[in-house]
């Protein structure tokens, strides 16, 4: 079955090749690339496929040092106009604190708190002399569907119905092994 651009409703944006490969390995099915149309497609790397019934686009920039994921996400949405939302999946640095025992290998999900949309942008180059950070902006409010899904997932993790470790070891054995 051939797919059309409009079939893809979820974008997954990575920046590093290692991230792209990891999420690509988790696709249930990989689709053929769409015929290139210069007017519509740009120079980003796209992997098309389906995951849990969703048609997803995995996008990353061939030059991560030049393009931020934000730019990749933008062009992904432009190329695949029916994308409902983008997931920015990849690695990050933890900020350990007493209240939250966060370890390497853990997963952090940006979650809205108050007015901010779960992520704020800071510019370290623009630190004021008072040494406080300048907030340049914040992420938009997240789509309701995502918030619902997150809380659902959270509940299932809390209930012990889901185990990410098991999932990961399965993947390691099945796909990457």
């Amino acid at each position: 079955m051939s797919h059309r651009r409009n079939d893809y409703s979820i974008g997954i944006v990575c920046s590093l090749a290692i991230e792209h490969a990891a999420i690509q390995a988790l696709l249930d099915e990989e689709h053929d690339m769409l015929p290139t149309d210069e007017d519509v497609l740009d120079q980003k790397q796209y992997t098309l496929g389906s995951m849990c019934g969703h048609n997803v686009v995995i996008a990353s920039s061939p030059m991560p040092e030049l393009d931020s994921a934000a730019i990749t996400a933008q062009s992904t949405i432009r190329c695949f106009p029916d994308i409902r939302f983008c997931l920015l999946v990849g690695i990050g640095s933890a900020i350990p604190s007493g209240s939250d025992d966060i370890r390497l290998g853990d997963v952090v999900v940006s979650l809205a708190s108050g007015a901010s949309g779960g992520a704020v942008q800071i510019d370290l180059g623009r630190r004021h002399s008072s040494k406080s950070f300048e907030r340049l902006g914040s992420l938009n409010r997240q789509p309701l569907a995502l918030l619902k899904a997150i809380s659902l997932l959270q509940a299932r993790f809390d209930l012990g119905e889901l185990d990410l470790d098991e999932e990961i070891s399965q993947i390691l054995g099945r796909v990457l092994g």
């Binding site: 409703s9 988790l26 390497l104 901010s116 992520a119 992420l139 390691l172």
Partner: protein, 805 residues
């Protein structure tokens, strides 16, 4: 492969004391002193992967310092730092899922990258498994309908009803999607045409529907894409039918579009010359480009006889021109024809097209932007470009125009302000951000945004801040970039934005003048309910020399403003900066005159006012250094003239020539000789002379011309040569131009010499004044012949009789 993603083990998860730096150049921490490791207990149940929810700080530079990290953590209450989403502002609906690979300290290394990426991916998959799968049901629904075209059209018509004027302009998509911000209609049309065979049956109606939501350029884009698609697609019956239809009506469409252009031209005032000509050119070029086979010029000629526009008949069609003869195709064609011509069909469509092409600004805003914004969840970042020339600034700023989907300028005077696409630039048909920003600006300004009378600032709010920052932008030494930032409570911002949006919509800053508004952007913080709680408004100003420090003394700002044309100082932060009793928008007079479209002085009652075709500026209050102008329509002003305006204005008498000097002094000059005309360079062209709704053709030759040269020399010549600058003359052929007539005409169309690029509205006024003064003088003295400066100027000062209508 697998090793890359394996769990490295807890013994390689080392969190050191923040002040303990990485020991060696070795990447891993084999030389770091274990004594500095922060002891943490093992995880229960061998669960090495946990999920945390919270704020992620997105940094544009790598953090490799535990102290900086902890500062970010405490100040922002963030739990994670990410380096990729930098620049990702509020316009994308997205979620960040990050696997923790390091602690953002000097010990960070790549050892955990694989596993962290895998963990994040695993969570992503889990997340997707609990999200409902949605398809483009709207499209599917339309497409799965009977392929019969009338059915398809019917479903299209349902979409097209007045209530469904939604922001979601995707072709055939009837469901409101989460993304919401889908306005790239032209691309949608293109994609529908290119990618979905099934949709083709409704693409015409769909694209027409889109136009309702979009601004005028979409029409051209859509038609153009339609045309291009039709010429490229395989010969399916539907395509052939559409193509036939398109060909048949192409000239009709072109004619009507040309007609629209011409209508627009005649309905524009004098101040609109440049814009009109420009848009005319653009449209013509577009037409030529988009409708290669249509003879636009012929269409323009034919527009008065639309019934004579030749249409292709079925018999004329042959296969060479890719027109069908197949019976089966003809059946479809008939249906298609019916679709477009049903009832008043096609004429209706053209009427709508016309309406949509050039709607009144308020209609445009309400219909397109209001509906859109009401449904928009995001806080789009707005970059609003004022005037065509500013595009050059954008280019020189080396903005990444590739990321811009479309550009808008809002131009025109008060009556005729309208949104224009920057069609003569390659990027004009891409990008949605700008559109959205303009929208958010304008919608905030709400319905009364075009009422400059009610723009009283809310003052006294100490939380409101206005700052003017100047900083070099590496553009060469002579250029600087000023940014006006306004931060504050929502109400305040709203007031400001209202003014600025109006300003933006009407502003005409001459190119090459000291200052130009290059971009306006607005960022807002909203609550969960979408309420805007606070915001940041930025306006960038470019100028070629340094902007003087604003004079903060009370009462000074206005004149400062005017003299320097520095828009940025126009908004006092407190009532103290404003002369007592003054209210309203504080702008330079030339800009105000441009807003109001006023071009010549009139005596209104006993007051000297400035009027245009429709509006009038009446001096209301005078203070030491400023004048408060009342803005009104001439109609209203005349109605009230016997009552409120008959009272003498304190401090000025209109029948006294000195009062004119006084007034001029209010406008920023101490005397006529200071009028800075030296840099202006007028070019007069007969084709640019407009007379309220039409061209004013000067017919005969002889007699009189009046003008001001750029060196403060007023020259009156017998004959029609206007000398404005050495070596630059403009010839107006005329005759029988009696001084009486000159006076009348000049008062009617004093904007005769208005050159949008090189002359401000203010200079225009000065020119008008001078023209009328000279005319009055000539009328009185019956003097014909060459009069040279300074004789004329001397005599002008002797004129006792004021220039009265």
């Amino acid at each position: 492969m697998r090793e890359l993603y394996e769990y490295p083990g807890q013994n390689r998860d080392l969190l050191f004391q923040p002040d303990y730096p990485h020991a060696q150049s070795e990447e891993e921490c084999s030389f770091c002193d274990p004594a500095n490791i922060i002891r943490r207990g093992p995880r229960d149940y061998d669960e090495h992967t946990q999920v945390h929810y919270g704020l992620i700080a997105s940094s544009n530079s790598i953090v490799k310092d535990a102290n900086v990290r902890d500062q970010i953590g405490t100040e922002l209450n963030a739990i994670c730092i990410d380096y990729e989403a930098s620049g990702l502002m509020s316009y994308l609906p997205c979620l960040m899922i990050r696997g923790v690979a390091d602690y953002a300290d000097s010990h960070k290394n790549a050892g955990w990258h694989g596993y962290a990426a895998l963990a994040a991916s695993a969570y992503t998959k889990r997340l997707l498994s609990v999200i409902t799968v949605t398809t483009n049901e709207g499209i599917a629904a339309v497409a799965s309908l009977d392929p019969d075209l009338s059915n398809a059209y019917r479903s299209g018509a349902e979409v097209d009803d007045g209530n469904s004027m939604s922001s979601n302009t995707s072709v055939g998509s009837m469901e409101a999607s989460d993304a919401g911000i889908r306005i790239s209609a032209a691309k949608k049309v293109a994609q529908a045409l290119i990618s979905d065979e099934r949709l083709r049956s409704i693409c015409v109606t769909a694209s027409l529907r889109l136009k309702r939501d979009m601004l005028q350029w979409n029409i051209f884009v859509a038609l153009g894409i339609l045309w291009e698609s039709l010429s490229e697609r395989p010969r399916t019956p539907v395509i052939l039918g559409l193509r036939w239809l398109f060909n048949r009506y192409r000239q009709h469409i072109a004619a009507s579009v040309t007609e629209i252009v011409c209508d627009q031209e005649t309905s524009l005032g004098v101040g609109q010359i440049e814009t009109t000509l420009r848009s005319d050119k653009i449209l013509t070029r577009l037409l030529k480009h988009r409708f290669p086979a249509a003879n636009v010029a012929n269409a323009a000629v034919n527009r008065t006889h639309p019934e004579e526009v030749p249409t292709m008949s079925l018999e004329d069609i042959d296969m060479e021109t890719l027109e069908p003869h197949d019976d089966a195709i003809l059946t479809d064609l008939t249906q298609l024809d019916e679709i477009l011509c049903r009832g008043t069909g096609f004429e209706d469509m053209l009427g709508k097209l016309k309406e949509l092409l050039f709607p009144p600004v308020h209609v445009l805003l309400e219909n397109t932007l209001g509906t859109y914004l009401a449904k928009t969840q995001g806080d789009p970042e707005v970059v609003c470009l004022v005037e065509w020339e500013l595009l050059q600034l954008v280019n020189s700023e080396s903005l990444d125009v590739k990321d811009i989907d479309c550009l808008f300028t809002l131009s025109g005077d008060f009556e005729n302000a309208r949104a224009d696409p920057l069609a003569d630039h390659e990027i004009w048909h891409t990008g949605k951000q700008l559109l959205e920003t303009v929208k958010s600006c304008l919608v905030m300004a709400s319905k009364d945004m075009f009422d400059p009378v009610d723009t009283e600032l809310k003052t006294g709010d100490l939380t409101n801040r206005i700052g003017v920052q100047l900083f070099k932008r590496g553009m060469g030494a002579e250029r600087e970039h000023a940014v006006v930032t306004i931060a504050g409570a929502a109400d305040y911002i709203r007031t400001i934005v209202k003014q600025l949006a109006w300003l933006t919509a009407t502003l005409r800053v001459p190119w090459g003048e000291m200052l130009t508004v290059s971009c306006i952007d607005f960022q807002s913080q909203r609550t969960q309910t979408g309420q805007i709680v606070e915001g940041l408004f930025r306006m960038s100003l470019w100028h070629q020399k340094t902007v003087p420090r604003p004079n903060d003394e009370p009462g000074q700002c206005w004149t400062r403003l005017f003299r320097r044309s520095v828009l940025a100082y126009g908004f006092p932060s407190s009532a103290a900066d404003r002369p007592e009793g003054m209210q309203g928008l504080e702008v330079p007079f030339d800009i105000m005159a441009s807003f109001a479209g006023v071009r010549f002085p009139v005596l209104l009652g006993e007051r000297l006012a400035f009027a245009g075709d429709v509006n009038v500026l009446i001096p209301e209050k005078f203070s030491e250094n400023s004048v408060q102008w009342h803005f009104d329509t001439i109609k209203n002003a005349r109605r009230h003239i016997k009552t409120s305006y008959s009272k003498e204005v304190p401090g000025i008498k209109d029948d006294d020539p000195r009062s004119i000097d006084r007034l001029r002094a209010f406008l920023g000059y101490s005397s006529f000789s200071e009028v800075p005309m030296g840099t202006q360079n007028f070019k007069i062209d007969q084709s640019e002379m407009f007379h309220a709704g039409g061209r004013w053709a000067l017919e005969n030759k002889s007699s009189l011309s009046i003008g001001i040269d750029v060196k403060k020399v007023v020259k009156v010549n017998a004959g029609i040569t206007l000398i404005y600058k050495k070596g630059e003359t403009a010839q107006i052929d005329d005759a029988n131009l009696h001084p009486d007539k000159v006076w009348v005409r000049s008062s009617e169309t004093p904007a005769l010499f208005y050159d949008d690029k090189k002359c401000t509205a203010f200079l225009l006024n000065e020119l008008s004044i001078a023209v009328q003064m000279v005319a009055t003088y000539l009328k009185k003295t019956r003097l014909w012949g060459l009069i040279k400066y300074p004789m004329l100027l001397d005599r002008l000062t002797e004129v006792k009789q004021p220039w009265q209508p």
